[in-house]
């Protein structure tokens, strides 16, 4: 498996590919949304049409889990989440830069031992979502927000929800609340990570006649998986939030 350049700053280790990848993704999302909403016309052009289609799609996602008033309020949240994860997932498939590094580069954290363990393969640009820290950060932020909104709405109802319908169900509820962010994060990370590793392995074989066709098939499948995972992550985020703020509690 390929190594990544890392930088030490204030005693923390930062992965350069994650920072560069997330910044690039954020810039791309900003560019798409600004260009898509600039100069709106009654008779939309091709690009505006596309952005409106994405917006309608996200509106459908929100309407599945929220009631209609809340669905409008959370549309910016869902759209941001979907676009960020969607573009981040495709980066590693389409724009992955991985190279063989022979000489150690100590200030990027590529020491001799690191290069040896990764067979000199170094990825300089890949999906930020293929790093588990990014996925956990996203899932944890959503979970904290959902719990916060649940408490703010009705703290008594929020707390009593843990012991309903019987008191001995408390451990089950706690496991449920812990498993949600864990699987939410690992589902996204594992899909993108496994896809990228297989691409690197197929690229690593120096026999393009044998691995060419499987590589093309796998790249197409990775594009599909990246889209599906972005969709599922967004749907589950809206479901988790709506579970906490819905009126049934």
């Amino acid at each position: 498996m390929e190594a990544t350049p890392k930088v030490e700053f204030l005693g923390l280790t930062f992965d350069v590919t994650v920072i560069a990848g997330s910044l690039f993704t954020a810039a791309l999302v900003l560019l798409i949304t600004i260009l898509g909403t600039r100069g709106r016309a009654m008779r939309p052009g091709k690009f505006q049409n596309f952005v409106e289609m994405v917006l309608e799609f996200i509106r459908g996602v929100n309407n599945m889990s929220f009631d209609s008033k809340k669905a409008e309020r959370y549309i910016g949240f869902s759209l941001t989440l979907f676009l960020f994860i969607f573009i981040a997932n495709q980066l590693g498939v389409l724009l992955m830069i991985s190279a063989k590094v022979d000489d150690p580069i100590p200030w990027l954290g590529l020491t001799k031992e690191v290069l040896e363990s990764s067979h000199d393969e170094v990825a300089f640009f890949k999906s930020p979502t293929a790093d588990i820290n990014v996925a956990i950060a996203l899932a944890l932020a959503i979970t904290l927000y959902a719990h916060f909104m649940g408490m703010r709405k009705n703290i008594k109802g929020y707390l009593s929800h843990y012991v309903k319908p019987y008191f001995w169900m408390l451990p089950l509820h706690l496991i449920d609340e812990l498993a949600k962010p864990a699987t939410h994060a690992m589902r996204l990370w594992a899909n993108i990570f496994a896809g990228e590793v297989l691409i690197v392995i197929l690229l690593g074989f120096a026999k393009p006649l044998i691995t060419g066709a499987p590589l093309l098939v796998w790249i197409a499948f990775s594009l599909f998986v990246g889209t599906i995972q972005a969709y599922i992550f967004t749907v589950l985020a809206t479901v988790y939030i709506s579970q906490k703020i819905s009126d049934e509690h």
């Binding site: 498996m1 699987t183 589902r187 594992a190 496994a194 599922i232």
Partner: protein
Amino acid sequence: MELGILAGGIMIGLAALAAGIGNGILFSRYLEGITRQPEAQSRLFGQAMITLGLVEALPIIAIAFGILLLFRVIGV
């Protein structure tokens, strides 16, 4: 042979088996559904895709950890 590599291979194999069974059941039911009611296809497709993501989650997590074991990122 290192046990970690063996463990990684077994994990990936079992995950592929489980994902195959799960997806087989899921999509056979999906096809049954759209054969009975072809007009419901667009709605069923979205639901089937969400369920696909839920079904795939644990096998793909097992595969990711299997890869980490195979490449000795995490050791046993």
